[in-house]
Amino acid sequence: MSKLIVSLSPHQFGSNSVKKLMFGVLIALLPTLFVSVWYFGLGAITIIVTSVLSAVFFEYVFNRFLLKKPSTISDGSAALTGLLLAFNLPSNLPVWLVIIGAFFAIVVAKISFGGIGNNIFNPALAGRVFLLISWPVQMTSWPEPSPLSKHLLGYTDVTTGATPLGILSEGLRSGESATKLISQVPDYLQLFMGNAGGSIGEVGAAAILIGLVYMLMKKIISWHIPVSILGTVAVFTGILWFANPDKFADPLFHLLSGGIMLGAVFMATDYVTSPMSKRGMLIYGVGIGLLTVVIRVWGAFPEGVSFAILIMNAFVPLINMYIKPKRFGKNKR
């Protein structure tokens, strides 16, 4: 027998690991990946591959050579950030913009704060919003979706159209009625399946919901954040719609179009940038829902999920500070 090992209790550990969690999310993203490749073809593939590779590359280079820390790429978090960033981009974005976006996401929003676990804002969304503000033209021209066979080889030269939310927002501004505008966009079944213009990964509510179910089953995330976000959006837009269906779109349209599904299920639930307590998660979710609707309905941008999540990210420390889990043996004041 060699020297005995001593350490403080506990002496037994669970089989959880960061790697497992991250790859769990990656698996949950597979249906969405499939839908996006189906509708956006080569463009989607190009963007996704570029984004994931450059995210992993930046993570590796900056961690190793600038921070002199052990590389963390094996835990899959950089790949996940890259994939999520790609899902938030239009499929005809020039490659160099994708690389810049990945750089901003990984280096500015993540590594500058100390790498995984220390960042305050969701890196993928920070990258996306950075691109959106910096190159609004490229970021707001959306290719028309069509089944895979049609434009397998199309990338930047595909025909572009508008997102359902874009059509709505623009139309409302020029004084048209919401009901009429909604009739111009693909019907709800099409939206649900993903046959609509938009970012690579945000179309196809069905695929995202499959991912959600998978993550809930694997206990990777809890229901609190997605449900509170989607619920708030439904209720808030429902009230507006009820008040004036001519000026506001119905809740189902809001839920199925734009990035709300992707945001609620995959972006807002990012561990690092969401609150720690269940009650905090609910507040966070409600906040995201409210802000999303406010920006969509009254703001300049047709879509507000990214901004809403980033803004609520900033509130997370305050939520954590004041919304604590209920302590055992402590009465509620």
């Binding site: 600038l66 921070l67 500015v108 929003a109 590594i111 500058s112 704060f113 100390g114 790498g115 676990g117 220390n118 305050i120 804002f121 920070a126 919003v129 950075f130 503000i133 802000l291 406010v294 920006i295 009254w298 703001g299 300049a300 941008f301 507000g304 990214s306 901004f307 809403a308 980033l310 803004i311 990210n313 900033a314 509130f315 997370v316 420390p317 305050l318 954590n320 500070m321």
Partner: protein
């Protein structure tokens, strides 16, 4: 409705700190702890409101009637400086604990460009009337306090994070502020 627009615009869309670049010194100086930040925010709300009302009256009834608007800067700042010092003296007596907490930053409210900036914007750039100016001042100050408190929360969390050596302290605070401003750009176009 107009007031609501002014309020939303001042708090979110044209947030004094994140969009207009006013009041940055206290924004970075007094944002290490949420509680102090909240105290500072409260002080600014008070000072900014009173300062805007006083300078509005000054502009309307003295400067304009004597046709000497060019003296705006000097009279405004004089009034604000006196006002802040007054608050300081009173606070020292009435609430020593708050005085301690705000420390040297109370005199710095004088040099908080947000106070002067908001006063000038209210009476000159936007040309609001008295009530609108007051609403605008309160909303702007709330916007300031809000961003200050959020930022303090972020910095308290960053204290516990493993920020790389070179980025520690001020640099990361700036980057956080930048990302916060990026997020707040989502509000653009609301008002």
């Amino acid at each position: 409705m107009e007031y609501i627009l002014i309020i939303i615009s001042a708090i979110f869309v044209n947030n004094v700190v994140l969009s207009r670049f006013l009041g940055l010194c206290p924004f970075f100086g007094v944002s290490k702890q949420v509680e102090t930040a909240a105290g500072m925010g409260g002080a600014v709300v008070f000072v900014m409101t009173v300062a805007t009302i006083v300078t509005y009256l000054l502009q309307k009834y003295i400067l304009i009637s004597f046709n000497i608007e060019y003296m705006q800067t000097i009279t405004f700042i004089l009034v604000i400086a006196a006002l802040v010092q007054l608050v300081e003296i009173i606070l020292k007596k009435v609430s020593p604990s708050l005085y301690q907490a705000l420390g040297i930053f109370l005199p710095l409210i004088t040099t908080n460009c947000a106070v002067l900036g908001v006063a000038i914007i209210a009476v000159q750039t936007e040309g609001y009337d008295l009530i609108k100016s007051t609403v605008f001042a309160i909303a702007s100050a709330i916007g300031f306090a809000l961003s200050l408190v959020i930022f303090a929360g972020l910095r308290e969390q960053l204290e516990l994070a493993d920020v790389p050596e070179g980025m520690k302290g001020v640099p990361i605070a700036f980057i956080t502020a930048g990302l916060l401003a990026l997020a707040f750009m989502g509000f653009s176009g609301i008002a």
